[in-house]
């Protein structure tokens, strides 16, 4: 949790007037006092950060080592042409702060490695995997397991996307669900596909913070933007998994 406990103020009661009937005052306070790390400030991370901030999550850490480029702009909706060549983490934090100066936003312009992934997840209640490659996703998944932090994974390609929510010790992890990563170059992505999945990640994080069962626990929830359908592919914990099972100390 982010430092001192924050109680609902009159300003909060007004700001979240249309949300408190759904989540309750206690739920809203849980959001205000929660800390979420968003790993990756790209097509998934931008909408996830926007909606988590709008919902009133009090502390958001945004991790990305990249700078904004022109070809990001079809899907990375926190950036514009004036931001090109600037740090994604820095610009994303600036934009989120401008939406709500009351929340603590912390940019981390770092590459996820075995050394950095531990400090980056320190003190977090939830980690959002909005990364774009499996080696970094597996690193984050392994550390989330080790620290016992819930992880909300999503990935996209073209018109399609997948969502998986990992509750350490209670559900299948990313390595159980996708033991062999797909190969190939960065895929084309329709901006709305990333938007839909990034919003779903924010929704899963909110469900966890509000004490509801995640939609994508023990299931890859797959979005098919060609047919407009969601489907669940059931996933089980792999007892020999190298991240959450017997294999975790053998690697």
């Amino acid at each position: 949790m982010a430092g001192r406990h924050r109680d609902l103020s009159d300003r909060d009661r007004e700001r979240y007037l249309r949300q408190i009937p759904l989540v309750g005052e206690e739920g809203q306070e849980n959001l205000l006092n929660a800390s979420i790390c968003i790993a990756g400030a790209g097509g998934l991370g931008c909408p996830a950060a926007l909606y988590l901030a709008a919902a009133g999550v009090g502390h958001i850490r945004i991790v990305d080592d990249d700078v904004v480029s022109m070809s990001n702009l079809n899907r990375q909706v926190l950036y514009g042409e004036a931001d090109i060549a600037k740090s994604k983490a820095g610009i994303a934090a600036e934009k989120i702060r401008s939406l709500d100066p009351g929340i603590q936003v912390e940019p981390r312009d770092v590459t996820l490695t075995e050394e950095t992934v531990f400090p980056v997840t320190e003190g977090m209640d939830i980690v959002v995997d909005a990364l774009d490659n499996y080696p970094a996703r597996y690193l984050l998944n392994a550390v989330a397991q080790e620290r016992g932090i819930p992880l909300v994974h999503a990935a996209v390609s073209g018109y399609f996307g997948q969502l998986l929510t990992v509750l350490p010790g209670r559900s299948a992890c990313l390595q159980c669900a996708v033991p062999n990563p797909p190969a190939g170059n960065p895929p084309p992505v329709l901006g709305v596909t990333a938007g839909i999945l990034g919003c779903m990640q924010a929704g899963e994080a909110l469900r966890i913070l509000l004490g509801d069962e995640p939609l994508a626990k023990d299931a890859l929830v797959v979005w098919d933007g060609k047919t407009g359908s969601w489907e669940k592919i059931r996933v089980r914990r792999d007892p020999g998994c190298s991240a959450c099972g017997r294999g975790k100390n053998n690697g």
Binding site: N133, S157, W223
Partner: protein, 94 residues
């Protein structure tokens, strides 16, 4: 009696192969022979379903009767008439 195998596909594979397919393969059928038949009737899709050696791509998630089949021997898992085999290609982008 039902003598075909039902094939379900998800996401990109649905776009490539269609969904709700009924295919006939010679007994004794396996996950490998079902994938090979899909690839035979759809060479464009074959490039994403199979690797360069004609084996099922490692990353593809396979379920038989909605139970995941994984590991080195998954292509040899037997499939019987009336069974359902499902294929999903996980995605990576962010």
């Amino acid at each position: 009696m039902d003598d075909t195998i039902h094939v379900r596909t998800f996401a990109r594979f649905r776009e490539l192969f269609g969904d709700g397919l009924e295919i006939a393969v010679a007994a004794p059928a396996t996950v490998r022979s079902v994938a090979a038949e899909l690839a035979r009737v759809n060479p464009a899709g074959a490039r994403e379903l199979l690797d360069g050696e004609g084996n099922l791509s490692k990353s593809v998630i396979v379920m038989v009767n909605r139970e995941r089949v994984a590991g080195a021997g998954r292509e040899d898992v037997p499939v019987h008439p009336g069974d359902e085999v499902a294929f999903y290609p996980p995605v990576a982008g962010g």
